[in-house]
Every structure is written in C-alpha cells, then in structure tokens.
C-alpha cells in the first residue's frame, strides 16, 4: 500500500498575546508587536495514513486536533517537521464557509465549489445531484441569507461530498442538521470509504470515529498519547475521560455532603454513591447495571419514612422518579442508620448528563425531612448512532420477509 499522508515530527507554536499591538501606531510606540507567550499546540506529532485508510483523531478540547488538521490541509504552517500528502485533498473544516449571503444557493455552489477546487464544468454535471442530496430543490434559487442554519449546513455538505477527493479531511461538522440528514452524511462518508478514498476525521463525538476509522490517534496537549487500532485507542481514551469525569463528580458530591446539614428532625442523607459493575463510579454505559446507594441517618428508628429518587437530564427533562411507597411495610420501620439501594439491572438511559435527586419524607403526612434536589450527577455514555433520545426502549422491528412479499405479489 502507498502512503497517502505522512506527518513527521510536526510542531506548531501559537502566540498567546497578553497585550497585542494590533495597530502600527502602538507597535511603533512600543517597538514591538505585543507581549506574548508561546504555546506549543503540537509537538513531535508523527503518523502515516495509507491509501484507502481511515484515521480518527480524538482528544479533549484544546488538545490540538483542529490545529493538526489545519496543518495537514495547508491552512496553518507547522514550525517544525514535515507533512506530505499524495493525491487531491479536500478539507471540510466548516460547512458553507464563505457562502455569500446575497447569492442564491445555486450561485454559492459554484462559488464555494470553485474555492474548494471544483471546476465549473464538473459542477454543471453534478448540480442536480447536489441539489437533490441537499433536499433544497424549492429553495436553491433563493439567497442563502433566507436559509435556516440547517439548510445552510445541508447545502455545504452536499457540495463537500461531491468534491471527489483522494483524501477527505473532516473536522467535526456533522453535529448540524437533522438526524435523517446526518445519517445520510454518514452513509455518504461510508460510501467514499468503500470507494477506496482516504479519510482523516476529527470528532468530539466518538461514535463516527468508531464507525468509520480503522486507526486512531489520541492527542493529549499537543502530543500523540496513543496510536493504534481505533477500538483499542478509543476504549483507553474513554476509560481516562470517564475516570476523570467520575472523580470530578465524586468531589462535587463530597462537597454537597459537607455543606448540607441534616434535615428536619435530624433525619438526613449521610452519603449517596452510584455503583456500576466494577464498584463506585459516576459514569455508566447504556445497559450497564446501575445502583444508587443512599446512606441515611436518623436520631432513632425511622418510622413510616418514604424515600424518593428522581433523575433529571441536563436539559431539565425529568426522566424517571420513584418512591419506596410500593415496597411493602418493611419500609415502615428502619434502623437509625442504614443503606437504601435503588437497583436498575440494565440502565436503559441513552447518552447524557443526568442528576439524581433524593428526598426523604414522612409517608403519612408527606412532609419532607430532607430534600437534595439534583445534587448527584452521573453521566451515561452510549455508542449508538442509530438510537437517540432519552432512553433506550426495548424494541423489535418487523419487516415484510421475502416469503411474505412473494405471497403479496402472487
């Protein structure tokens, strides 16, 4: 196999200006262009992508992913090292970058296409295809300033997939548009892969990388932290990100416990923790076993108490709430300290940040002893591209089978 992209020892420094002299006047008066610090956005980055290969680049915000892409496509110039590319490179760093608002969609296809490297004759030939893919037939001759951001992105992507490159470089651009369109974009990328084109992809979301990329590099503060087969690198990356996030959430919960005093009548929550298959954590995957353990304390035996737990997603959607009311009278008399466990054998929640609330109240009067609203965060990850929403509902699809169809035709 031949090498399509070879990156060797690339370093890129940025200047972070503390004070920047943006005018000639200031620069002359102070005899310098500003006070700045140098920041190594990339250092010692090396890798190769073979023809027809697909490389994903992952890493946290500010790890240098986009800087690396911009170096590969030639927008930024590395300070050290070399980058070689073989074949036509098409870079998709932003959909519809450079659209002119007063131009119609059609005119912008020619303008944007030309800038990205498509000759007019070629665009003439694929125009119908572009329009059809973008589903903007009715709007293609209106100025793009009248477009919604979704329409804008759709047109941008439709141009992009017709670039016909040897090497496709994609920054995270697919976060826009409705889901059906996103799905078609992914299908299109899959097809380009099948056609033997080389793909380099940066994404904050890991699912597309998992789906398309065979290899992966993990950038950490400008350096290649790991490099290898995509599933392995992603798994290690996720483990670290989850561990870090989990620790952060644990310390948040710790603060809550320190700050919040016991509730009415000395009844309170001593500690709340989440447990997964491997012990305490705050990060779960869809389908993981999930336990929420509430340690409580009371001055004496706790009679007729009700424990309530609710889950709320980040955006305020109440996902689920439950109380111990359904549990039989065993709950009516509890020891002064103890653990109450809420056990979900297979967590059906989909990707998101959730917060749990805990309320202990008197089952008889309904009066609360203690209320901890949204105090306990946990994260759910799911690696599903096709199922979205709050929860994964148990489901099964039924399609007309071949046998069935035959009987209909007969």
């Amino acid at each position: 196999m031949t090498v399509a992209v070879r990156v060797r020892d690339v370093a890129k420094r940025f200047r972070i200006y503390h004070r920047r002299n943006l005018t000639l006047k200031q620069a002359l008066l102070q005899r310098r262009r500003g006070v700045f610090e140098e920041f190594l956005a990339l250092q010692g980055v090396s890798f190769e992508v073979e023809h027809g290969g697909a490389l994903g680049i992952i890493g946290e915000n500010g790890s240098g992913k986009s800087t690396l892409l911009k170096c590969i496509v030639g927008i930024l110039e590395p300070d050290a090292g070399s980058i070689e590319t073989r074949g036509r490179v098409a870079a998709l760093l932003e959909l519809g970058a450079g659209f002119h608002p007063e131009y119609t969609g059609r005119e912008n296809v020619y303008l944007n296409g030309a800038l990205l490297g498509l000759p007019r004759r070629y665009i003439d030939g694929v125009m119908d295809e572009i329009v059809e893919f973008s589903e903007l037939q009715r709007f293609i001759d209106n100025p793009v300033r009248t477009y919604s951001s979704g329409m804008y992105a759709r047109l941008g992507f439709s141009i992009a997939v017709h670039l016909d490159p040897d090497i496709l470089v994609v920054d995270e651009i697919l976060a826009v548009g409705d889901e059906a369109f996103q799905r078609r974009c992914y299908d299109r990328i899959a097809r380009m892969r099948a056609e033997g084109r080389t793909l380099i992809m940066v994404s904050h979301a890991l699912e597309p990388i998992q789906e398309f990329c065979t290899d992966c590099i993990w950038l950490d503060r400008g350096r290649v932290r790991e490099r290898g087969a995509a599933p392995a690198v992603i798994a290690r990356y996720l483990a670290e990100v989850s561990a870090r996030e989990s620790a952060l959430m644990a310390s948040e919960v710790e603060r809550v416990h320190q700050l919040v005093p016991s509730g009415r009548g000395g009844v309170g929550v001593t500690r709340v923790r989440f447990e997964g298959a491997d012990g305490p954590t705050h990060v779960f995957e869809t389908g993981d076993p999930f336990e929420m353990v509430i340690e409580y304390h009371a001055p004496a035996r706790l009679e007729g108490a009700r424990f309530s737990v609710g889950f709320q997603r980040e955006d305020g959607v109440v996902v689920f709430s439950t109380t111990t009311d359904d549990v039989d009278s065993a709950a009516s008399s509890l020891p002064p300290t103890g653990e109450v466990r809420l056990r979900i054998p297979s967590l059906p929640l989909l990707e998101g940040l959730f917060r749990a609330s805990v309320i202990i109240s008197d089952a008889g009067t309904g009066e609360p002893y203690t209320v901890l609203e949204g105090a306990f965060p946990f994260r759910v990850r799911s690696h599903r591209l096709r199922e979205r929403g709050v929860a994964l509902l148990g489901h099964r699809w039924e399609l007309p089978t071949a046998a069935h169809r035959r009987s209909v035709e007969a």
Binding site: K70, I75, G81, G87, L115, L116, E195
Partner: protein, 296 residues
C-alpha cells in the same frame, strides 16, 4: 527547531479515485491546477463585482452609475463653471484621462487593503491560494477601469478630440499601472492583517498622494516654472519620485493630447517601480500569509 518543509509528493502513483456505483455526472480531469485557479479567480471577481449590488433594483448597473455621474459632473463643472486652461486639450478631457488612471489605483488599493481581513472566514476555513482574494479585488477594479475607459469615448467625440496612433501604447501604460497597483495592493492587504490601522493610513495617504500627482494640474507647467520657494523645490522632487506622475502623464498624453508620451524616461522609471512593487508585493504577501490563519 528543525527546518520546516511541506512536500507534495508526485502525483504519478495515485490511483484514480474509483467511481461509485450510482455516481452520475461527467468525470473531468480534476487535477489541472491552473484551470482550477482560473475558475477560483473568476468566481471571486464575480463575487466582488456583483455581490455588493444584490437585492437592489437596478443591480450591477450601480457600478456603471458611479463613473457616469462623476464624468458628467466633472465635465459640466469644469467646462461651464470653472474654466481651467490647459493648452492643447479641453480641460474635462484632460482631467478625466488622468483620473482614469488615478481611480484605478485608488480603487484597487482601498478595496484590497481589506481583502484578506474581510474574508477571515475563508482564510481560516478554506485552503486555497489566498493571494487570489487580493488579485480578484484588483481585477474587479480593473473591470471598472475598463468601463470608465469605454465611457470616455463619447466624451472625446463630444469635444472633438482626435484619436491618435499613440493610443496603441495605452495597453502598455495600463500594464505598468496594473503591476504597480497590484503590487501595492498585495503588500497592503497582507500588512493590514498584522496592523489593522494600515487601512486608515492608506485612506489618508491616498488623499495626500492625489495632490502630489498631476491629475488636476499639469505636470509640464510645474516643471517649466524656473524657480520657486524651497517648498516648491521639494514638491518638484516629490513629483519626480512619484511613479504615478509618469503613469498619469502618459495617460494624458495618449488620450487627451493625442500624442506619444513626452516623458519617456519617466515612463521607463514608472515601469521599473511597477515591476519592483509587484515582485515585492508578491514576496511580502507570500511571506506574511504563512501566519494569516493564526493572526486573523
């Protein structure tokens, strides 16, 4: 740090991208960079010329309106109300033939100085030769120049100014002017990314420069004056050094005076400065453009 190097590998071993099963439309040769860049330039010039007037009722006609109006106003004012006397040609014709050259220069640089900064999104997100942004602005100023030149024809007929074979030299003089304008535009466009007040300094400089260029007055009258104050001597020296002096006077010679340029040495000097400006402008632009995406 070691040396930086971006090498594009030879294209030969690249297998042609295979065509997908349901892909339609013509396969054309996509690797011809010259043709591609021509198309980029074409689209950018088109954008420059038409986009501004979109949404207005008369559209691109606006760009015609400007030269038509100033030509009419100048002609009426200077042939009816203020009568300057320049022997050998009607004053409006003299004035407008010099202004033709001057306006091309000022339109080029005043539009170009912002041509990179004003397209920050493109520079940061699309990889293409950014020098085209500035080249396109200068070319669109050139289109306006060509329109003005055509509009000058009825004026010449109206004032009974004969057409001379010296007009054949107009393309050469225009080329000198174009090189000078483009070089200056490239340098200013690139420098303005780093120092944002270059734009304002340019506007002021254009005002001052105008009076240091024999557009409204006649070069030969200044040069013929036998003596003068110290300030006048300095002024004369500025006229000598200013390449636009010789470009403008060549325009006046071939159009208004219907004769071959009288200051040939000056024109050669202007051509040399023009070539130098172009080379320096391209070099400066290429040098500074390495960090455009960071500075914007």
């Amino acid at each position: 740090m070691h040396q930086f190097k971006v090498r594009r590998l030879p294209k030969a071993p690249v297998p042609p991208a295979t065509t997908g099963p349901d892909r339609e439309g013509p396969r054309v040769q996509l690797r011809d960079n010259r043709a591609l860049n021509r198309e980029r330039l074409r689209q950018l010039v088109r954008r420059e010329l038409t986009a501004r007037y979109r949404g207005s009722v008369i559209g691109v006609a606006w760009s015609l309106l400007n030269p038509v109006v100033y030509m009419i106003v100048y002609t009426v004012v200077f042939s009816k109300f203020m009568r300057f006397n320049i022997p050998g040609t009607p004053y409006p014709v003299y004035l407008l033939s010099g202004l033709l050259a001057w306006n091309f220069l000022t339109q080029s640089i005043s539009a170009s100085v912002n041509s990179v900064l004003g397209n920050a999104v493109l520079v940061k997100k699309v990889a293409f030769p950014w020098i085209m942004l500035t080249v396109a602005t200068v070319i669109s100023a050139f289109v306006n120049y060509a329109i003005s030149l055509i509009l000058l024809a009825p004026l010449l007929i109206f004032f009974h100014v004969p057409v001379s074979p010296a007009l054949a030299l107009l393309p050469v003089v225009t080329a000198v002017l174009f090189a000078f304008a483009l070089g200056l535009s490239l340098g200013l466009a690139a420098a303005n990314v780093y120092f944002r007040d270059i734009e304002y300094l340019t506007m002021i400089a254009i005002q001052v420069w105008f009076f240091m260029t024999p557009v409204i007055y006649q070069l030969d009258q200044i040069l013929a004056a036998s003596h003068g104050s110290r300030l006048f001597t300095i002024f004369r020296w500025i006229l000598y050094v200013n390449p636009m002096t010789w470009v403008v006077s060549a325009f006046q010679d071939v159009i208004a005076f219907h004769r071959w340029p009288t200051h040939r040495l000056g024109l050669v000097y202007a051509a040399a400065v023009g070539a130098l400006a172009l080379g320096a402008g391209i070099a400066l632009f290429n040098r500074l453009s390495r960090r455009f995406a960071e500075e914007l």
